[in-house]
C-alpha cells in the first residue's frame, strides 16, 4: 500500500492543469517526470512481490526477479540486448483474453521462442533503422527487434522462454527482406 501510494501521489500532483496541458515551465516538467518515475519504480516492486507469490517455485528456490524495460520504444532494454537466454512474462490487466505483439530489442539475428504451452512460437527479426536505434553512443545498441505474438489470459500472465539460436535454418525463417527506394 505504501509503495502504491507514491505513484498515486505523483499522479495526483500531475492532475494540476499545467501537467495535463503541458504548459508547465521546463524545470517543473522535469520534476513531474521524476515523481512519476519514482512512483513507477515502486509499483514495479509491487508487481515483483506479486509474481513471487504467483509464479511457480522450483522446490525451495524463489522465482527470479522480474526486470522492466521502460525504453523499449527506443529499442533499448539491457536485459534482452545483453542476455542470450531470458524469459518474458506478460501480464494482461484486462478481463478478457487479448492477443498482442511484443517487440524486443536484441543483438542476435535469430531466436527460439517457446510459449507457456511448451510449443514453439513463430518469431521474426526486424532490423532497427539508424533513426530508430537507441542512443548511438551506447557501447552495443540493439541491431534488431525480435517480434512475436503473445496471448496472455484475462487478468493473468503468460511466460515465454527466449533463447539465442545460431542455426542457419532459424535465421532464414526469421529474417526480414528489405528493399529501398529513393523518391
Amino acid at each position: 500500500e505504501i509503495k502504491l501510494r507514491t505513484l498515486r501521489q505523483a499522479m495526483g500532483v500531475a492532475q494540476h492543469h499545467d501537467a495535463v496541458s503541458g504548459t508547465e515551465k521546463q524545470h517543473v516538467a522535469y520534476d513531474y517526470a521524476m515523481r512519476l518515475s519514482e512512483g513507477i519504480s515502486m509499483c514495479q516492486e509491487v508487481v515483483n512481490d506479486a509474481y513471487k507469490k504467483l509464479l511457480p517455485k522450483n522446490n525451495s528456490a524463489t522465482p527470479p526477479v522480474q526486470m522492466f524495460c521502460t525504453l523499449t520504444n527506443i529499442s533499448m532494454c539491457n536485459v534482452t540486448e545483453l542476455l542470450k537466454r531470458f524469459t518474458v512474462t506478460v501480464y494482461n490487466p484486462i478481463g478478457r483474453p487479448v492477443t498482442t505483439w511484443l517487440r524486443l530489442p536484441v543483438q542476435g539475428s535469430a531466436y527460439t521462442v517457446i510459449g507457456p504451452d511448451g510449443k514453439n512460437v513463430p518469431a521474426q527479426i526486424v532490423p532497427v533503422s539508424k533513426r530508430t536505434k537507441s542512443i548511438p553512443e551506447r557501447k552495443s545498441p540493439a541491431n534488431y527487434e525480435l517480434v512475436f505474438h503473445v496471448s496472455p489470459p484475462p487478468l493473468g500472465f503468460a511466460t515465454y522462454f527466449v533463447s539465442y539460436n545460431s542455426a542457419l535454418e532459424v535465421f532464414k525463417q526469421q529474417q526480414t527482406q528489405e528493399k529501398e527506394n529513393v523518391f
Binding site: G22, C69, T80, L83, F86, Y91, V126, T132
Partner: protein, 288 residues
C-alpha cells in the same frame, strides 16, 4: 518502380510509385477502398507582439499558426519496404528529422504508424508546429468526431459552436480540439468511417472535408505571455530540440462496425499487456 502493396489478410495499403507516399487504403473484408494520402506537414508559429494583447504569439498555451497553410516537408523521400513472416513494414524518411514506420501485423485489423519527429530545426528563426495529415475523398460536410476526455465521443462541426454564434477569427486553431484517444471522420452516403487512435493526448482537427490532422510536435521561439514565461522550446541534454516518438492506429470500416473495432482496440492500447523479463540460469527443459 511500381506501386507497393502492403497487405495482410484484412487490410491493403498502396504506396505511390512516384512519391513514395501512402495513397490508398482498403478494408479487404468489407471491400471498402478509399484514396488516403498521408504526409507530415508543419505550420509556422505566429511570432506575435506580446505588448499588444490581441497579437499573442504561439506558445505553450496557444497554438496560433502564422497563416492557414501547412507546409509539406520537401526533401527526397527514402522508403524502405520490409517483409517477413509476421510483420510487414514501410519505413519512410520524410526529412532528416521526420520518419515514419507503417506496420501491418499478421491478422491485424488496424494499421500501426510509428512516427519519430524532431529535433525540429529552428535555424531559420521560425517556430514550427508539426502535424500528421491524412487526406481522403470522404464527404464529411465539415463534421468530425473527437473524444472529449477518453470517454464520450463528441461531434465537432467546423467553424461552429453548438451554444453560441461563433465569429471565427482563427480558421485553423479555432477548429482544433483535444484528442485524448481517437478522432474520426465518416461519409454517411458511402457508409465509411476512418478512425485514428493515438497513444497520448494531442490536438487535432479536420480543416478540410475528408481530411484529418493531428499535431505531433511543436517548437516555438516566443512566449505567449499567458503565464508560463518561456517559449515552448525544449532541448535535450545535447542542447538540440527534443525528439518525440509515438504511434497512431488507423481503422477503416463501415460506420456500424467501427465503434466495436475502435473501442476494443482503444481498451487494449490503454491497458496494454505489461512485459517483464528475467535472467535465466537454466535450459528450457529445466525451466518447463
Amino acid at each position: 518502380y511500381q506501386d507497393m502493396d502492403l497487405r495482410n489478410e484484412h487490410i491493403s495499403l498502396i504506396f505511390d510509385q512516384t512519391t513514395g507516399l501512402l495513397k490508398q487504403m482498403t478494408n479487404l473484408d468489407k471491400q471498402i477502398t478509399i484514396p488516403l494520402q498521408h504526409e507530415f506537414k508543419y505550420y509556422q508559429s505566429f511570432a506575435g507582439n506580446n505588448s499588444k494583447g490581441i497579437y499573442e504569439a504561439s506558445g505553450a498555451y496557444i497554438f496560433r499558426p502564422n497563416g492557414t497553410d501547412a507546409y509539406p516537408l520537401k526533401t527526397n523521400m527514402v522508403t524502405k519496404f520490409m517483409q517477413g513472416i509476421l510483420v510487414k513494414e514501410v519505413h519512410q524518411t520524410f526529412s532528416s528529422w521526420t520518419t515514419l514506420v507503417t506496420r501491418l501485423y499478421q491478422g491485424a485489423r488496424h494499421v500501426e504508424m510509428e512516427w519519430t519527429v524532431g529535433p525540429i530545426p529552428i535555424d531559420d528563426n521560425q517556430g514550427k508546429e508539426v502535424i500528421s495529415h491524412f487526406a481522403t475523398d470522404l464527404k464529411t460536410n465539415g463534421i468530425f468526431y473527437t473524444d472529449s476526455n477518453g470517454r464520450e465521443i463528441l461531434q465537432r462541426k467546423r467553424n461552429f459552436r453548438p451554444t453560441w454564434k461563433l465569429n471565427q477569427t482563427e480558421p485553423v486553431s479555432g477548429n482544433y480540439y483535444p484528442i485524448n484517444s481517437r478522432i474520426y471522420i465518416r461519409d454517411e452516403t458511402k457508409n465509411v468511417q476512418l478512425t485514428v487512435l493515438n497513444d497520448r493526448s494531442q490536438g487535432g482537427s479536420s480543416i478540410q472535408d475528408g481530411c484529418l490532422e493531428i499535431m505531433v510536435h511543436r517548437r516555438n521561439l516566443h512566449d505567449d505571455s499567458l503565464g508560463v514565461g518561456e517559449p515552448l522550446n525544449e532541448t535535450g541534454s545535447d542542447g538540440k530540440g527534443l525528439i518525440v516518438r509515438g504511434k497512431h492506429y488507423l481503422v477503416l470500416d463501415d460506420i456500424k462496425s467501427s465503434g466495436r473495432v475502435h473501442r476494443d482496440l482503444a481498451e487494449q492500447l490503454f491497458m496494454a499487456p505489461l512485459p517483464s523479463f528475467s535472467d535465466l540460469k537454466m535450459d528450457f527443459q529445466q525451466w518447463i
